[in-house]
Amino acid sequence: MKKFKFKFRADITAVTVVVFIVCIVLVAVMLMQFRTVEQTDITEIENMRESELREALVEWKTKYEEVDTQLADVNDKIAEYQKTINGNEESSKLVDEELNESNLLVGKADVYGPGVIVTLTNTNDFQYIAEDLLDLVNELRYAGAEAISINGIRILANTDIVDLFDYSVIGINLQRVQSPYIVKAIGDKDYISSVLNLKGSGFIDRYNKLGRSVSLEEENRVQIPKSNSDFNIEYMQEVTEE
């Protein structure tokens, strides 16, 4: 048809040249475009448009921020837990120490330390009675003894020392003890011995004057066994203030 039209209007050679050039340009450009489109399907990110890249970047950024905040939260929680764990450990250590201390005080463990050993022996003239032992224990406590035992029996706050069978035997915690009475005490040995030896009022001085058999030894290591009686609380309760 074209032929037929052009004859009518324009110079046919000019039209031919123009059509030729147009064809070259159009086909060349189209092929270039096809190639780029095909190739960009294979390689993705490098040929993505800027806007797409930007969107992806923003998405990843928000995701990153979310995860970052989550991480921070979790880290805070971990730190808190760590703190509480540390606190618990510290408090349990403290409790442990307290328990050990009170165990020592209550006599639930064998203890040793510097101290004195007082030996009381019955003679034909004189027999020791419970009151004498109580007197001695009391003086030892006054002198700051931390642990006391008589013939291997630990003397505690609730230990009883009584005369049994018409003064013939002394009972400590319902156990019979007999002469010689070996009283061990842990504490400042110099102070204890000086207190016991005080002229006029010290136990040893007094009893020696009466001609009774008392001896005192200072030792660097006195061992005192643990109490074999239990501390049962049946009636007493703690007073809680409101």
């Binding site: 048809m1 074209k2 032929k3 039209k5 052009f6 009518f8 209007r9 324009a10 046919i12 000019a14 039209v15 031919t16 040249v17 123009v18 059509v19 030729f20 050039i21 147009v22 064809c23 070259i24 340009v25 159009l26 086909v27 060349a28 450009v29 189209m30 092929l31 270039m32 475009q33 190639r35 780029t36 489109v37 190739q39 960009t40 040929n47 993505m48 448009r49 800027e50």
Partner: protein, 133 residues
């Protein structure tokens, strides 16, 4: 003559297009718009030849001018953050369909006219035959 020019032009264009370096994907959008503008001009040219008002100057300026203008507009749209290339595609493709419709109608009319002529001829022949008989 013109058909030969079209065929040779297409072959040379294909060779050039295959051997040309790749365009980066960023600029392929502009190129696509330019191709659509050029195709629009080509279909417009065909339609105008069929309507017997083809003008070489209008065709050449439309072919190159539309392509360049569409590229420029697309670039401007990117700078303004407005998708102007969408408007360009709508206009060019719409016109392409218009021109294709014109071409289609032209051929349909031509075809149906020929058929009618043939029928008339056949009828006449038959009449003649009948008369002869």
């Amino acid at each position: 003559m013109i058909f030969i020019a079209i065929i040779i032009g297409c072959v040379i264009g294909a060779i050039i297009g295959v051997n040309m370096p790749m365009i980066s994907y960023t600029y392929s959008g502009y190129l696509a718009i330019a191709i659509i503008a050029a195709l629009d001009s080509v279909f417009g040219g065909i339609a105008s030849t069929l309507n017997k008002n083809f003008d070489l100057k209008i065709f050449v300026t439309g072919f190159f001018g539309n392509a360049i203008l569409s590229i420029l507009l697309t670039y401007l749209g990117q700078k303004l953050n407005v998708d102007i290339y969408l408007a360009a595609i709508v206009v060019f493709v719409g016109r392409m369909f218009n021109n294709l419709a014109i071409i289609r109608r032209y051929y349909i009319e031509k075809f149906s006219k020929e058929k009618q002529k043939n029928k008339k001829k056949e009828e006449k022949k038959e009449e003649k035959k009948v008369e002869e008989n």
